[in-house]
Symmetry: C2
């Protein structure tokens, strides 16, 4: 950071947009001083309504996120959004039109949008996203929307950080079948049939409702909501906002909020841990020439990757760490 | 494993399909005995032509893989294929029709197909895929095709394990623009304009060729090839097979093959390392109640995830491992 951690943290909390963006970049790069800033910011986070928005290519996620930003702003709430970088391959990244639409928020001090690529982060997309959300909370965003492409472990990790999971489905895309099969029905809190003016919208709605089998659900559990929208025209967005806020209220009424917070922290611990551990060991290996020698030995058939890793772990990891017994 | 590692390894090398499938499942589950089998198999691997096939939803990857299996079989080569499980959400997993088509290979002893989901593997998709390819090589497959969805870090990891990378593009899908933007142009060795009977095929071809800017390329480097196909009708498949084999020959002529093998081993080391390390530490944490206490402390604001991880790493990781100095 260009300034001391304490100074940087204060500026983030005051909402200094330039320093927030800079901090996000440094976190993505695994900067050590940025972590010190995060330690200071951490107690100032954790209060926002966090919403994961997942769905296939062409489901209209980006437009939906844009409309949600607008709708939450109209309710007077500050909104942060983590969106998929359009430069990602096959990611369902928004096309130029969507981006231009979203830029209309760029002069609104109550909105902070951050684009993320689907790969290329030193500590992984999930860690980078998770930390970006924390920074947005520290700078005062009351709602944070996180768009994900819904494929791969990274995406599951991202969804697990958010309190409320929106699954966006376009009629006739086959997505409803995929969603049913893939266990997304279990993680979704709100299902959005977007582009509901298209043929097959009613069938998609029925298919999702049938799969949710809401009948006979025990009292006290959240009953997933299905909302029909036409994001391009803003139709159904108010209902969607109400569904999101209803889920938040549901969490706050019972122990759900405590559980969601705990789950988020546990998840963050895992992400940070994996990343930091790797860095320590790779730093230890660097410049020793041992990695190269190992690779050559494997290629020459003198050993294999499994035996090599056993050896390396023996060197780096304490066998029976006493504090844990 | 139901049998001793030596016995299991012999049976894999003899091509016992049941034991190969069982081994793959055990590897996905992180079974310890399965790793012992892999140590024995490792020297019997590394010789196949390995081909990564990446592309967006609807590009026709699955059909193309099916046609490639057929074409390599007609050349008398044994073919293994790792394909995307259709149950994955938004993964571009093949629909029922594609799967049925592929099943026609199921009685052919010279073909071995393994479906993989895009998530849910203990050690990650990339490790599971990488090990599946090794098993296929050990059982005598001479060509191994690996279908990936081309999004997220997992997929990049998968591609890096293969020698030859095919980027599949459908005309008018916008994929060509995404590919250009996203650096896929640099990792692709063969570009496939599939569904080349559709409108816009010529434009897609031109766009890709222009982006590759083949003019003025130095001698000795591989010049990426662009092939037009209509996989559903089998058109262009022979040319595609020739392009794949030409790339293999190119690698073997120079030092490319040595480099590709070394890169693959290095990559495997990273994947296995990350996975094993995590297991050791999580095993150490299990049942101690410390994780829960840490989470509570963080939630109560007494500490933060960064400080906790620093503490845990101090317990598990040796500070200055002497053998490395």
């Amino acid at each position: 950071m260009p300034v001391a951690p304490e100074e940087a943290a204060s500026r983030v909390i005051e909402g200094d947009r330039r320093i927030c963006a800079r901090l996000m970049t440094l976190l993505e790069e695994g900067d050590g001083a940025a972590k010190e800033v995060m330690k200071l910011l951490y107690p100032h986070t954790g209060k926002a309504v966090t919403v994961g928005v997942t769905g296939g290519t062409g489901s209209g996620k980006s437009t939906l996120v844009d409309r949600l930003i607008q709708a939450f702003r109209e309710r007077g709430l500050k909104v942060g959004a983590v969106v998929v970088d359009p430069s990602s391959p096959f990611s369902g990244g928004a096309f130029l039109g969507d981006r231009l639409r979203m830029q209309r928020h760029s002069r609104d001090q109550g909105v902070f949008i951050r684009s993320m690529a689907s790969r290329g982060y030193l500590g992984g997309l999930a860690r980078a996203t998770s930390e970006t959300i924390r920074v947005m909370e520290a700078m005062g965003m009351e709602v944070v929307l996180v768009e994900t492409i819904g494929a791969g472990q990274d995406e599951v990790d991202v969804i697990q950080v958010a309190q409320t999971c929106l699954v966006v489905i376009a009629p006739g895309s086959g997505d409803e079948i995929q969603a049913l099969k893939a266990g997304l029905m279990e993680i979704g809190h709100v299902f959005v049939i977007n582009k509901s003016d298209l043929d097959g919208a009613l069938q998609a709605l029925r298919a999702v409702e049938a799969a949710l089998s809401l009948k006979g659900m025990p009292e006290g559990l959240w009953r997933p909501v299905v909302v029909s929208t036409v994001a391009t025209e803003g139709r159904g967005i108010d209902e969607l906002v109400r569904a999101i806020l209803a889920h938040r209220e549901h969490l706050e009424r019972g122990e759900g909020m405590e559980r969601a917070r705990s789950q988020r922290v546990e998840h963050e611990l895992g992400l940070i841990f994996r990343d930091e551990l790797e860095r320590i060991v790779f730093r230890g290996l660097k410049g020793t020439g041992m990695k190269k020698r190992y690779i050559q030995d494997i290629m020459d058939g003198r050993t294999d990757p499994y035996s090599v890793i056993e050896e390396i772990l023996g060197i780096f990891v304490k066998k029976r760490p006493s504090p844990w017994r």
